[in-house]
Symmetry: none
Subunit: 259 residues, 2 copies
């Protein structure tokens, strides 16, 4: 049975927001729905009186909002990251409507795992790099003639679906896959980024990218490994493999020296 | 079966709105959800540049909004009137949450009957006289510590529930995530076994198993990669990486020959 406790592990992250009023309005949208956690990544103007004005009684949420220079820092301890995005070509994330996303988010948050929901800049949304940090996309179905919701209103819809899901009265949503009995603590976004950096370095060292597109390859590998949702132990094993590959490659380099 | 035609008979009526920005934002909230009909009763400031600014691409909705001096005139031809209101003592209207209200509204609107949803002034909501025009109340359940949604955000929640109700099947919760749009044909068991064999050979060559239990490691890696459910293309990429690791390791071996 889901309670509002799950909201303690649910954060909304606003990335590169242009208008401080939208930050305040988003704080209010969260607060009215019982969500408390707001984080900001490189807001254009913050703090700002406009934000305060529109936050109304959610001033506390605004005041507690952490400001980051880097998206990775905002989601380092998260094991599930949703990105709010319009449908886009070329980005192959699993796509959820708000209602399904809310259920998935709560399934994870009730276990005490940290979840983040990212919203991008008003004009451009999340950029491709930011989308690469996401496990899945939330898309709010909208009218073709008037497709673009205001940022704070998109936050409102998602927050409302989260609240609805808790109030729902239904028992906890069915877990799609039986939980893994051997799973250790899930790897955080920070650990995954560490792994991806290590992987990129390794691929360079073995000259994997010759004749290929590094960006496409890394994007593909990211999706594959994020989809696998490794636990901490698995990431350690993978990094152990990478370390041994690097060691092997460096022996080679040592032998090549002077050729 | 409900279609968006029902929206032709569904109007949102904003009564004595103080801030023109909220009128514009409400127009946008309606427009993104495919609703078109906005009516205003004694708005404090309208038309107004703030309204235009916040309407964004819903300018047409704003432009078409009728302005009335009297609530009765705005809803004269309506046979169902909902009033958005916080729970109140002494007003014995049947109370609906947004989802139930949306269903009721659409039941009526599909018959071609006119429905109105009233939203009151930001500070005071609908007054008692205005509530007397309503058949039922919509109450958006909100957090006790931060109970009051911004007017346009309340409109957004109701409009979203209306759209969800029409989309019905598509917006219904998906227990399983939408399939990955880029997924190629899934790798067969045979392809996966080929990959695992290649992986085992590679781990031997880089001497990964020294001091570890090969069987446990391979079991772990199998579970991780099977869980990721790679498609054929992804397996090719992974095997390409293994091939380059082997190439790198064999250069080393070549150099080691004779040591």
């Amino acid at each position: 049975m889901i309670s509002f406790d799950a909201f303690e592990h649910t954060r909304c992250v606003l990335v590169r927001t242009s208008h401080p009023g939208n930050i305040g309005a988003a704080a209010r949208a969260l607060g009215t729905m019982g969500l408390r956690r707001l984080e900001l990544v490189r807001p254009h103007h913050f703090p700002h009186p406009e934000a305060d004005a529109l936050a109304a009684h959610a001033a506390g949420i605004l005041g507690a909002a952490r400001v980051h220079q880097d998206l990775g820092a905002a989601i380092a301890d998260c094991t599930l990251v949703f990105g709010a995005t319009a449908r886009r070509r070329g980005i192959a994330l699993p796509e959820f409507g708000p209602r399904a996303a809310a259920r998935r988010i709560l399934e994870v948050a009730v276990e005490g795992r940290e979840v983040a929901i990212l919203f991008g800049n008003e004009r451009n949304g999340l950029d491709n790099d930011e989308v690469q940090h996401c496990h899945a996309a939330i898309t709010i179905p909208s009218d073709a003639a008037c497709p673009s919701l205001n940022l704070a209103q998109a936050v409102q819809v998602v927050a409302w679906e989260l609240r609805s899901a808790v109030l729902g009265g239904a028992a906890a949503p069915q877990v799609v896959a039986a939980p893994r009995r051997d799973a250790g603590p899930p790897a955080s976004a920070e650990e995954m980024e560490g792994f991806f950096g290590h992987l990129a370095e390794t691929l360079d060292l073995i000259e994997f990218h010759k004749g290929r597109s590094p960006r496409t390859i890394m994007a593909r590998l990211r999706r594959l490994f994020l989809r696998a949702q490794p636990d901490t132990r698995e990431v350690q094993v993978l990094r152990g493999i990478l370390a041994d590959v690097i060691r092997t490659a460096r022996i080679t380099r040592g032998s090549d020296a002077g050729k």
